[in-house]
């Protein structure tokens, strides 16, 4: 544990902080009872939280922040004057294992600047994962950020050691990628995602001899999109996400509000990161994945293609579709209940099973855990009808925070 290692760790974790996708969930079950170190069981674990509200689950570092690419939004681009460092394979392995033994982390999230060539960089990253797995019997979680221009064989090899692979789409539109990340190509990014999807599907098929193929990225793939760096509106962002979910079976699309970076590029404004917008996009993403909403439906509630920052997107949709309400809680279908503001997926499941025992009343819904302040204009049940509330002109104002004067900062 030399001062030099500490200096590198400071530089290479600082350089990795802008990537939000560091969850450790949804992989196969493994443990160290038969040797080695580490385990993965069901849900991921967040071992700490920093004051930015983000979870620390994995040791999230760059292998190096030297980079030959010149992506305008990135602190590590070739034209930045940021201090540079590079870890050796042994240093990354040691940090991962020593942090893991003290229960600081679930595993490693390794990303990197591009040095020399995409293939050489990817090969070095794969070597780190392979060393952890094969020399140290590491059973914890590994997430490798995949370099889209690396050869397909290296992506295949990465899938053997990593739980999750991710390839960043970076920006919601092809044109913005070409403008702000001129060395990246949207078509190779998507081709690499297709390769990961195909690799996962092949690893799940048993051959006619009954032999099971080698595992391949059991926790699937994810991506990250930067919000607020280009001019894309929320409708465009959500459409891009839904195409990525449908096309490549992504587990998650992470949205990252573009945030001021040291040593910035003249191409991008250093404004305060749009954190509420990022939050609304995550909520909308949830609606697409768990509530049966399509991207166009969510966006259709917004004339300018931007989500309402004052109310959550489900409430926004309900306010724009008042003709579909009130919903009779004791008779409505699951699909209808899922569209009621204030009802989460668990609440809806509980309503459906409790309904078999009794006719649900107001107090029952409170016990079930529904958010009644939000739900009440949109539901009816014995003893409660929203009456004119649903059509009230000021319904949105009851939920939205009072308008604030725009901050000058």
């Amino acid at each position: 544990m030399t001062p030099e290692l500490s200096r590198k760790l400071a530089i290479l974790s600082d350089a990795a902080k802008y990537d939000a996708s560091c969850a450790s969930s949804g992989t196969e079950r493994r443990d160290a009872r038969k040797g080695g170190l580490g385990s993965t069981e069901g849900s991921g674990i967040c071992h700490a939280y920093t004051p930015d509200g983000r979870c620390i689950s994995l040791l999230k570092i760059l292998m190096t922040n030297f980079c030959i690419f010149d992506c305008a939004y990135c602190v590590n681009r070739v034209s930045s004057n940021v201090e540079r460092a590079r870890f050796s394979v042994e240093e990354v392995v040691t940090l991962t294992l020593e942090f893991y033994r003290r229960n600081y982390i679930e595993g490693l999230f390794l990303s990197s600047g591009i040095i020399r060539s995409p293939d050489q960089t990817m090969a070095d990253m794969v070597r780190i994962a392979k060393t952890l797995r094969e020399e140290h019997g590491f059973k914890g979680y590994i997430h490798l950020k995949t370099i889209p221009d690396a050869s397909p064989e290296l992506i295949d090899e990465a899938g053997l050691y990593a739980d999750r692979l991710s390839i960043n789409i970076e920006l919601p539109q092809d044109d913005s990628i070409r403008t702000f990340a001129p060395e990246k190509r949207p078509e190779t990014i998507r081709t690499a995602m297709a390769r990961v999807r195909s690799g996962r599907e092949a690893s799940r098929e048993t051959s006619h001899t009954g032999k099971r193929p080698a595992r391949f990225a059991p926790a699937g793939q994810s991506t990250q999109m930067i919000v607020g760096a280009d001019g894309a509106n929320d409708a465009t962002i959500l459409n891009t996400s839904s195409r990525l979910y449908a096309g490549y079976g992504l587990k998650r699309v992470y949205y990252s509000a573009f945030s001021p970076i040291p040593d910035s590029s003249a191409m991008l404004p250093l404004v305060k990161p749009p954190l509420i917008r990022e939050h609304r996009l995550y909520q909308a993403d949830w609606l697409m994945r768990f509530y049966g909403f399509e991207a166009e439906e969510i966006a259709s509630a917004t004339p300018d293609g931007m989500l309402d920052l004052g109310v959550d997107p489900k409430l926004g949709w309900a306010l724009a579709h008042r003709e579909d309400f009130p919903v009779d809680v004791n008779r409505a279908t699951k699909e209808q209940l899922l569209r009621v503001p204030g009802f989460g997926t668990k609440t809806v499941d509980r309503i459906l099973s409790a309904r078999r025992h009794r006719t649900l009343q107001w107090d029952d819904l409170v016990r079930i855990g529904a958010s009644m302040t939000k739900a009440k204009p949109f539901i009816s049940l014995p003893g409660w009808s929203p009456g004119g509330l649903i059509d009230a002109q000021n319904l949105r104002a009851r939920f939205a925070p009072p308008p604030q004067q725009l901050s000058l900062f």
Binding site: D14, R101, R102, R350, H357
Partner: protein, 475 residues
């Protein structure tokens, strides 16, 4: 009145044994007093638990899952609430699915609180290394859980940290893992653990992974409640991190854009010069294949994975033209490899046509789709897209110069003959075009889409008939 005092370890087993004996004899919950740990001083002498055979008990598995967690809650009412539920379950086997029942809700809340505490212990225990004179490394931790979760978590830590010796001490109970064996010892006051050099590296990481431009304290406190902070070394960094945050953001903004280092321009120039580009002149099929990857003649390239160019021998006598790549073709970058391709392969084989000797391609080179949940739903290309892509199809026809072109479906007919209308009437006939004769037939995906099995078999037979005609024309 019965009184049951449950031990602090093995609580669930003891509760289950006592509850079973009471419930088989239908002892009402009001007649039982429960306690965990030390026995409370009562005003009466408790009756012994009933023994001997009573009624048979029915317990759903879901109840045991709730009980295993809820019994670890420090709420003294937990064992009684569980016993109430057990008694009611005998008459109301579906009780647990009634989320609106107050008892079910209360047990659910206990279960959830314990589940969370188990999870937080797994997350927030921090080991320190202790000098060891053996070949196994040694670690120890001090932790203060909210509920009695230490025993329930021992297995998790044993499965994870099996190649080292470790101990987790808590006020109620210590769990010790030595040479692969778990044991328990009574709780103790906080031990004095030696400093561990890794903690300063961890603090370095914690400080540097934090983004000062996005402060969300509420979110941090919600997930990492203050009660756990005192045993987590990294939390000591938080005040200093917050204090400096705003100044750091202001400094970044004030500094603004900087002058790029001199080497940057050279590196960028060299990399960009070496990036793949569309060939300036297209003189061969392979150059056309390289060029189509860069095609932006219509908007389909923005959403598809990649352009799917034709494949086959350069001098093929037969060219087969479909509509556009589908989901599988889009992923693989090759034409006719999905379900429709399989149908075509089968019918071609049965008709004596060798796919390997034909040039297989599509009228449109990018996949057009609309996302629906986890699937991409095919959409037919419009006339503009077909016209834009005809440029590539014409190149293929010019280079391959097939004796016969087989057009499958209306889109292919549109691209090859200028009109896609009336395919029902035109299929099975050869039409002359400036690029040679074109034989039209059904697209295999049309056969797959037909809901009526009889009609599908008929269409498949017609496709086979047309392929047989193609074979005859080529002979």
């Amino acid at each position: 009145m019965h009184r049951v005092v449950l031990p602090e370890t093995g609580t669930m087993d003891a509760w289950r044994e006592a509850a079973r004996r009471l419930a088989t004899h239908a002892v009402p919950p009001a007649q039982v007093e429960w306690a965990v740990g030390e026995a409370p001083q009562g005003l009466f002498d408790p009756e012994p638990l009933p023994s001997g055979e009573g009624r048979a008990l029915k317990v759903p598995r879901a109840f045991l899952e709730i009980a295993e967690k809820a019994i670890l809650h420090r709420d003294p009412a937990a064992p009684d609430l569980l016993y109430q539920a057990l008694v009611r379950l005998q008459d109301q086997p579906q009780l647990l699915s009634d989320a609106a029942d107050p008892l079910v809700r209360r047990l659910g809340a206990l279960q959830k609180a314990v589940h969370r505490d188990i999870h937080k212990m797994r997350a927030f225990v921090r080991f320190r290394e202790i000098p060891s004179d053996r070949d196994r490394r040694r670690f120890a931790a001090w932790f203060e859980p909210e509920h009695r979760v230490v025993e329930a978590n021992a297995g998790f830590f044993a499965r994870r940290f099996s190649d080292m010796d470790w101990a987790i001490h808590t006020p109620d109970l210590s769990v010790i893992f030595e040479d692969g064996e778990v044991s328990f010892a009574p709780g103790a006051p906080r031990p004095d653990l030696p400093d561990d050099a890794a903690e300063s590296l961890w603090a370095t990481y914690f400080t540097n992974i934090f983004n000062p431009a996005r402060i969300k304290l509420g979110s941090m406190r919600q997930h990492m409640p203050l009660k756990y902070w005192k045993n987590m070394p990294e939390t000591a960094q938080i005040p200093a991190m917050l204090e400096g945050a705003e100044a750091r953001v202001r400094a970044m903004q004030a500094a603004g854009a900087t002058q790029a280092p001199a080497r940057a321009a050279t590196i960028t120039e060299r990399y960009r010069a070496a990036m793949p580009k569309a060939p300036a002149v297209i003189g061969t099929l392979e150059e056309a294949r390289a060029a189509v990857r860069h095609c932006t003649r219509c908007d389909l390239c923005r959403h598809a994975t990649q352009a799917v160019f034709g494949e086959g021998p350069a001098g093929a006598r037969l060219m087969v033209v479909g509509e556009q790549p589908g989901d599988q073709e889009d992923l693989a970058g090759r034409p006719f490899v999905g379900p429709a391709g399989k149908v075509l392969d089968e019918v071609m084989q049965a008709s004596g046509l060798d796919r390997g000797r034909a040039w297989m391609t599509n009228a449109v080179k990018h996949f057009k789709f609309t996302p629906r949940g986890k699937r991409r739903i095919h959409q037919s290309p419009d006339k503009g897209e077909v016209a834009a892509c005809k440029w590539w199809l014409d190149l293929e026809r010019d280079f391959v110069k097939p004796q016969l072109t087989l057009g499958l479906g209306a889109t292919a007919a549109q691209a090859l003959t200028g009109t896609g209308a009336g395919i029902t009437r035109r299929r099975g006939t050869v039409e002359d075009t400036s690029s040679g004769p074109v034989l039209l037939s059904w697209h295999p995906s049309y056969i797959l889409r037909l809901p009526d099995a009889g009609r599908a078999a008929e269409a498949r037979a017609e496709l086979a008939e047309d392929l047989a005609l193609a074979r005859k024309l080529l002979a």
